[in-house]
């Protein structure tokens, strides 16, 4: 997994609530999906017009936000499906951090699997960040410092955010979950041996049928 230590750049406000995974990556685009190509279809229903042209009203189509690396979102962003394409899609657009009041639980987890940082903040703070991100001003640079767990806004305000230690370490070091868990393979084997005595019916024999 790639590391995420500090992130500097523009934040795009996308405050519509309940943007679900069917909006982020529509079902019709999943069949051939890969992390490399998904960004072509990210936010398709919002980003493009029925004739296939860009919708100029959509924030990421506006010149000031084309290179955005942060998305400030409305509540419940990423609700709906488990599809990890939603994270591939936003990461493919260059977004490495999403900030909102709440997120779909599976989406929230999927972000960490792809080195994208989701940050939950109280609604008022999200609204303030959205206002700063949307302000028509010269300096638009936000800075996210993963080690310090802080967001620095263009006006120089510093906001702390919460991030569990293990998540922080994984982002900073680019650690992969599978490798981490494999270290516990002995404990997994012991658990199964014990459990097989207590709940033998759980341990099916090999392939039948």
């Amino acid at each position: 997994m790639d590391k995420l230590q500090t992130l500097q750049g523009v934040a795009a406000p996308l405050m519509r609530p309940n943007i679900d995974t069917d909006i982020i990556t529509p079902a019709g685009r999943l069949m051939d999906a890969s992390p490399e190509t998904m960004h072509q279809f990210t936010f398709e229903p919002l980003r493009f017009l029925p004739d296939g042209g860009e919708n100029p009203d959509f924030v990421l189509n506006q010149p000031a936000y084309r290179g955005a690396v942060i998305l400030v979102t409305g509540p419940n962003f990423g609700c709906g499906s488990s599809r990890e394409t939603a994270v591939w899609g936003i990461k493919g657009l260059g977004i490495r951090c999403v900030i909102g009041e709440s997120f779909g639980d599976i989406f929230f987890n999927n972000c960490f699997q792809n080195s994208v940082l989701p940050i939950r903040l109280p609604a008022e703070q999200v609204a303030e960040l959205a206002a700063e991100a949307g302000a028509d001003q010269g300096n638009r640079q936000f800075t996210i410092d993963v080690a310090a767990r802080t967001i620095t806004t263009p006006s120089g305000r510093e906001l702390p955010f919460e991030l569990p230690d293990d998540r922080q370490e994984a982002l900073l070091e680019g650690l992969d979950d599978i490798g981490q868990t494999m270290k516990h393979d002995g404990a997994i084997g012991e658990f199964q041996e014990r459990d097989r005595q207590a709940r033998p019916w759980i341990y099916l024999s090999g392939q039948q049928s």
Binding site: S81, S82, I188
Partner: protein, 469 residues
């Protein structure tokens, strides 16, 4: 009582291999369900990493998302069927994973196949790369949906790394009114609590109404847990559960069965235990539901009127409702009944089991689907299809002008190319009415199977209670 535990606590504790930090546990996965949309790919990814499937005997794979539902179908009948269902078959065979392929008598939607084969068991921890995995909680399993990276992780290690959610209990008590189904109960709950009420929570459904429900009804309830944000929904196993499971293909047998049942009887929330959140629902208040918007909370009794955005106190709901009414092309103040429709889809992991089809058939019998409506019945599995045919339900539907199709997800998500056309209005027994869910610019109204069948007959959204009389 300090040592009182919730059902959730008991299930969680039984699966902790070791804590990884204060809040993060490494949990054993007893059951992994794999489908064609992400399964084949995850197994290929695993192989590319030089890893193998740790416990193939604890996995079950079946294609559902990409395959056609056309009678007489093959993998080639849908645009990506060969690639995805074929890929799943090859990967499952290579890994030695139990695979119910396209021609297998047990093929079907993962969330239908798991319970009906007793792959899903009370007390088991089950995951699947699909958000509606909460369905399996209806049997007293701890079950939730995971992403594709997590899926690869489970394949390699037979574990998940998971943070403990908060607990929530929803008690539904009282008797259901005439024509009210499990689908109406859960839509009503989501409408009452809101679309994100369950975020971060594991939900236990309890109360006399739930206790009186069949397993198939309970599966419908737990299926929609994710639609108010809860990753896990569960119901304590009881005699109804044990009777349902007994004798199914993968259920324990003989002495193992007796030991298992004795163990399962302890899987209840202890008296007086605390939940982080509690809600009470009066079953008597629930009417047959139909959704009017593009999120499942936007539901109303079928005899109700379409709300105006200004009816909602919260700015966010007003905003959402305005967008939804526009997308759905509906006018506030109108009765929802009488809204003309183009399509009906009866199927999906929410409502495609035998009892669902029976209720729809009761409505369809000796009636005709309206001229302008295309109506599909897509059974949830080959087992459901065979059982329905054995009692003649297929004939009732075909005579009424419904299409009788092959098992799979089909129009619930339309990844197999079976879309609702732009601008068309569909009454669907599935679980998501999101923008574009059934196809670009498709308009979806969620309802139960009897209401959907009634809409097919009437050619418009209609109150099943008036049609039944």
């Amino acid at each position: 009582m300090s040592d009182a535990s919730t059902l959730f606590d008991k299930l969680w504790r039984a699966h902790v291999i070791r804590p990884l930090s204060d809040e993060l546990d490494l949990l054993h996965v007893d059951r992994l369900l794999i489908h064609d949309l992400s399964g084949g790919r995850a197994m290929i990814e695993l192989a590319e990493k030089g890893l193998s499937v740790r416990n193939p005997e604890l996995c079950l794979a079946t294609p559902d998302h990409s395959i056609s539902s056309l009678p007489g179908r093959t993998a080639a009948s849908s645009p990506f069927g060969e690639q995805l269902a074929g890929g799943l078959r090859r990967a499952a065979e290579a890994a030695g994973i139990r695979h119910f392929g396209l021609e297998h008598a047990n093929q079907g939607i993962v969330h239908v196949v798991g319970p009906e084969t007793a792959f899903t068991l009370p007390g088991s921890l089950l995951v699947c790369g699909d958000s509606h995995t909460s369905t399996h909680g209806a049997l007293g399993a701890l079950a939730w949906g995971i992403g594709s990276s997590e899926l690869t992780h489970v394949l390699a290690t037979q574990t998940v790394r998971q943070r403990r959610p908060r607990t929530m209990r929803i008690a539904v008590d009282g008797e259901l009114g005439e024509g009210v189904e499990a689908k109406d109960v859960i839509l009503h709950i989501i409408g009452r609590l809101g679309v994100d009420a369950g975020v971060g929570h594991a939900v236990e459904y309890a109360g006399s109404t739930i206790a009186a429900m069949s397993i198939e009804e309970r599966l419908t309830i737990c299926n929609l847990s994710i639609e108010f944000g809860a990753r896990m929904g569960m119901i304590a196993p009881d005699d109804v559960t044990f009777d349902y499971l007994h004798g199914r293909p993968l259920a324990p047998a003989g002495e193992d069965w007796d030991r298992a049942v004795a163990h399962w009887r302890g899987l209840v929330s202890d008296d007086g235990v605390d939940f982080d959140r509690q809600e009470a629902i009066d079953a008597g208040e629930i009417a047959p539901q139909v959704t009017w918007g593009t999120s499942p909370w936007q539901t109303l009794p079928v005899d109700g009127r379409i709300p105006a955005p200004d009816d909602f106190a919260e700015a966010e709901k007003r905003h959402n409702s305005r967008l939804a009414l526009d997308y759905m092309d509906l006018t506030p103040g109108q009765a929802i009944a009488g809204t003309r429709i183009d399509r009906v889809f009866i199927g999906s992991c929410t409502n495609s089991r035998l009892s669902d089809l029976r209720r729809a058939a009761t409505i369809a019998k000796d009636r005709r689907v309206a001229q302008h409506v295309t109506a599909w019945i897509v059974p949830g599995s080959q087992v459901v299809k065979a059982a329905a045919e054995a009692e003649g339900l297929d004939k009732i539907f075909l005579e009424a002008g419904f299409e009788w199709r092959e098992p799979g997800c089909s129009q619930c998500v339309a990844t197999n190319g079976e879309t609702v056309a732009p601008g068309e209005r569909c009454v669907s027994t599935s679980n998501r009415n999101f923008v574009g869910r059934q196809g670009p610019n498709a308009r979806t109204h969620l309802a139960g199977p009897a209401m959907a069948a009634a809409a097919a007959i009437a050619g418009e959204i209609t109150d099943v209670r008036t049609l039944a009389n």
